[in-house]
């Protein structure tokens, strides 16, 4: 029987009640007394010199309260890059200032160079239009293509960076010569050039921010759509606005999805705070979807050449990758980490491959900043590997399942350090491969293919065996790798006098279900009812300093912190129990919510201990403090390494090029499972986004840097009728060896493993259908691209 509560139960989500009844409170749902409205004036050109801005007419328009331009923020700090990368030659990366509002130049369509605050939204909008028409922006040639940007020393996104290159990174540089040599001498080398398409994360809730200022105390409050309110507070207070951290509260209330795009601090947040101070009134801003398309940090956007050297039997010898990664016009907070330490370090995949070398050049262009989006670097690594392996199998006439089986690390090889520096702690990659193959009914494929052929359709099957490094943390490790922040997390467990419990977490839930899962864990450990536990997140005035939610880290890192805080509660409870039961502390045991003296029937319930902690009438105060509240910070020893095998089955309509996904099988190893229902949901969502990347999502700028796919009219995301039911399995479990819950993280897996499975399936279908000249189609594998490939 599955459990019905506690760890491992599919507890229904408690947060659903408010979301299902319209009582969730997202930032834009707030309405504050005296609120005013900000509208941003955004560049219509990709690259231009700001010759003049005449604010006088706009400032005099009805309802207008304040006008800001880049000039108003030129003396405050820039929005910083959180990760320092050094080039192969040892030089640090180029870090141009990212101003709150563009100053001097605008560098991408949508780059805000002014803001208007007015009594109503419509008045602010009218004045913003006026201000735009009173501004002279001298258009400069747009830099859009990465290769051209690197080759052009006259046309510069940032005047001080002559070749538009942020850095030229090698990983691991010491491997380079050996990899070059191995590739030169290998019996077979497969080369694949590919594009990992630029994506817009598209959380359904647009970004929104409300700034408040309290003149009496000098306190600021920012309510904003953030995945990590403490990080946002740190960036704004310490780096951008120079206000004391303890005078700024950041609240991220209900947040409607993030997928990475809401990790970062954005200039709009600083502007609404500055405006709130100037006006001593709340200032609100909510992005229109078109603004989101232009200004939310985008994802992916790599151009890659990968080479796979192998024996004729498909045994891997070496991988060599050269990638150009687009960072857009400015460095977003983690945009330098994504193509490097979240990508290059994964380029050994789950395989035993002796040699790997990765070169990544990052390029500034006149496009929106690019940063981490669900998976962040790991989907790019996985796609390159799984596609080049598939291509190699076709070139050598080998079975793609057997080639994976031959090259996967075996379960007796852990812990295993890869040639690109990660230490995989545990796994059983053959188990997930076997499971996926069983789920996909390989034996029945030929009959299914024949049935499709009878309808004039081409059927194919694609495989991807993937691994990722997540639970984004160890401060020790990321510090060595260039991170400027620590990546621990924190939780406070407060047992109230009446026995109910408040748990304050540094992690932030914006769809992941923390309020339910975290309560399950605490309930199990303390032997109390889940309903007596409240999970509090998203408000820096309530929670300890944690680093928020991204990189599939909430459970592995913050969950572990919470676990440790609960352990401290139990330890403190034992002290209290020892005092109350007049026993030695070491004789107290805690089980099923009861503290008892070993070998006796003397016991105190959890509730009695809690009450006593706050009514300490006879405590030995020198040795026993009142209260029952503990905080723990947790910083793990390593990343976690979820892995799995995905198999996709597609049908291609050769007349139109349309791809239908008929089946998608996922066999994942996430370590221990806290709530199976939620794990399944995370995989479904990740696979849905991966299918989106593979089949339809495409962010396209034209040669002038205009965004052609700037709305849902042109940016295609999967709808309900574009995807199948997914077949999800997580029964292969090798628990993480270094966190107390044994969990690995499941949020990004689907988006990492699925794109190559889809594309491999499409190529397979075309080959089986006689179109063997098609060796690769870049994502999105849209109908027109498939049709063109068939008829090319």
């Amino acid at each position: 029987m599955p459990k019905d509560h506690g760890i491992g139960a599919s507890s229904k989500r408690r947060e659903d009640i408010r979301f299902l009844t319209g009582k969730g409170v997202y930032t834009d749902d707030l309405s504050l007394n005296g609120q005013t409205h900000a509208v941003f004036v955004r560049s219509e050109v990709a690259h231009g010199r700001i010759a003049s801005i005449d604010t006088s007419a706009a400032a005099g328009m009805p309802g207008v309260l304040a006008v800001f331009t880049g000039e108003d923020f030129k003396d405050v700090g820039g929005n910083p890059a959180g990760w320092l990368i050094n080039s192969r030659n040892g030089e640090p990366m180029r870090e141009p200032k990212r101003p709150v509002l563009a100053h001097g130049k605008v560098r991408h369509v949508g780059d805000a160079y002014a803001a208007v605050v007015a009594e109503t939204y419509a008045e602010a909008k009218n004045a913003a239009e006026q201000l735009a028409s009173d501004s002279v922006i001298e258009e400069l040639p747009a830099i859009v293509d990465m290769a051209a940007a690197l080759a052009d020393s006259t046309n510069r996104v940032h005047d001080e960076i002559p070749d538009n290159q942020c850095f030229d990174w090698g990983w691991i540089e010491d491997n380079r010569a050996a990899v070059d040599e191995a590739i030169k001498n290998a019996p077979h080398v497969t080369t694949l050039e590919l594009v990992n398409n630029r994506l817009v994360p598209n959380a359904m809730e647009p970004r929104a921010s409300i700034g408040e200022y309290f003149p009496g105390t000098g306190d600021y409050k920012l309510t904003t759509t953030s995945q990590n309110p403490h990080l946002t507070r740190l960036l704004i207070a310490a780096f951008v606005m120079g206000i004391p951290e303890n005078k700024l509260t950041v609240v991220a209330p209900d947040v409607g999805g993030g997928f990475g795009s809401k990790i970062y601090h954005y200039g709009e947040e600083a502007v609404v705070l500055a405006a709130a101070k100037k006006l001593a009134r709340p200032v609100r801003w909510t992005a229109e979807r078109s603004e989101s398309f232009l200004t939310d940090a985008h994802g992916r956007d790599h151009v890659t050449k990968i080479e796979l050297a192998c024996e004729k039997d498909g045994t891997f010898i070496a991988f060599r990758t050269e990638t150009m990664a687009n960072v857009g016009a400015y460095l977003s907070n983690f945009s330098t980490a994504t193509p490097t330490f979240l990508h290059g370090t994964l380029m050994a995949g789950p395989y035993k491959v002796p040699n790997v070398y990765v070169n990544v050049k990052t390029v500034f262009t006149n496009t929106a900043p690019v940063d981490a989006y669900r998976g962040a670097g790991r989907p790019e690594a996985t796609f390159s590997l799984e596609r080049v392996i598939d291509k190699m199998c076709r070139e050598l006439g080998l079975d793609p399942f057997e080639v994976r089986r031959k090259n996967l690390l075996t379960k007796d090889m852990f812990p295993y350090t890869t040639p690109v520096g990660l230490a995989y702690d545990t796994g059983d990659y053959h188990a997930t491969l076997d499971k996926a193959m069983e789920m996909a009914d390989l034996a029945g494929f030929e009959a299914r293919r024949a049935a499709s052929a009878a309808k004039g359709k081409l059927r194919g099957m694609g495989l991807s065996t993937w691994i990722e490094a997540c639970g984004i943390a160890p401060s020790n490790l990321v510090g060595v790798l260039g991170s400027r922040v620590g990546l621990y997390d924190a939780a406070t467990v407060r047992v109230n006098a009446t026995g109910n419990i408040s748990v304050m977490t540094g992690a932030h839930s914006h769809g992941q279900g923390h309020e339910t899962v975290f309560a399950q864990i605490v309930a199990e450990k303390l032997g109390v009812d889940e309903s007596s536990i409240e999970i509090v997140h998203g408000d820096t005035s309530k929670i300890p300093f944690g680093m928020g939610s991204y990189g599939s880290r909430s459970l592995a890192v913050c969950g572990s912190a919470m676990n440790r805080a609960v352990d401290k509660i139990i330890a403190k409870g034992k002290k209290i129990a020892a005092h109350m039961l007049e026993a030695a502390e070491e004789d107290i045991t805690f089980e099923n919510g009861s503290f008892s003296v070993a070998g006796t029937d003397k016991a105190k319930s959890f509730g009695e201990i809690a009450f006593s902690a706050y009514v300490p009438h006879n405590y030995p105060l020198e040795t026993l403090e009142p209260g029952l509240e503990e905080t723990a910070f947790y910083d793990p020893a390593n990343f976690t390494y979820p892995a799995g095998a995905y198999i996709c089955e597609v049908e291609v309509d050769p007349e139109t090029g349309k791809v239908d996904i008929l089946a998608f099988h996922c066999a994942d190893d996430f370590g221990n499972i806290m709530n199976p229902m939620i794990v399944e949901g995370q995989v479904h969502g990740g696979v849905g986004q991966g299918i989106g990347q593979a089949l339809c999502e495409n962010t396209t700028y034209d040669g002038n840097g205009q965004l052609l796919s700037g709305s849902y009219m042109d940016y295609a995301m999967p709808r309900a009728d574009d995807v199948p039911f997914y077949n999800v399995d997580y029964s292969c479990q090798t628990p993480c060896t270094h966190n107390p819950l044994g969990v690995k993280g499941c949020g990004e897996a689907g988006a990492i493993g699925s794109p190559p499975a889809v594309v491999n399936a499409v190529i397979d279908a075309l080959h089986r259908g006689g179109h063997s000249h098609v060796t690769h189609i870049d994502m999105p594998v849209s109908p027109s691209r498939v049709w063109s490939a068939i008829n090319g």
Partner: protein, 161 residues
């Protein structure tokens, strides 16, 4: 300004509105019914779907002034009289048909309308009917499953069970 009177979630409301006042704005700002969400400006995402005279309508693409006399139901009007979740709402919770919750109100309203038109829809019927509602979190699997379940159909055969 135009005077409009509507019945919203069973209550009669009257207000003076500007011509440009969208139904979504009227609900969110005028009546403070903020369960109806706005996720785009091109009438594509469906987060704002409500019922007008029993039919699904994108409230961001209807003027309040055009709906004088209409009967409007929003997500706030979908619970049972005793405050418990209605059938569709309960199915969404039971089958994890939501994650961040932002698209959820529109999803629930569309699903409820589908079931009133077609009490026993197939999975394909559901997917087709929901094509005007974008969800970025769930990959739709559990939404479709929830709607099947809300219609009283057995979902035990749905993949991943």
């Amino acid at each position: 300004m135009t005077k409009v009177t509507m019945t919203v979630n069973g209550k009669s409301v009257s207000a003076e509105v500007e011509g440009r006042t969208l139904l979504s704005t009227f609900l969110r700002e005028g009546l403070r019914l903020t369960g109806t969400h706005v996720g785009c400006d091109t009438s594509q995402c469906g987060a704002c779907v409500v019922h007008v005279d029993g039919k699904v309508v994108k409230s961001c693409t209807a003027f309040a002034a055009d709906l004088d006399g209409a009967r409007v139901t929003t997500i706030e009007g979908m619970a049972n009289a005793d405050g418990t979740l209605g059938t569709v709402q309960q199915a969404f919770q039971d089958h994890h048909g939501l994650q961040c919750g932002f698209c959820t109100p529109g999803m629930v309203m569309s699903a409820a309308a589908l079931l009133s038109e077609n009490p026993k829809p197939s999975a394909d019927d559901i997917r087709h009917y929901l094509e005007g509602n974008i969800c970025r979190c769930t990959g739709y699997h559990n939404i479709v499953k929830a709607v099947l379940a809300a219609s009283g159909q057995d979902v035990s055969a749905v993949a991943a069970e």
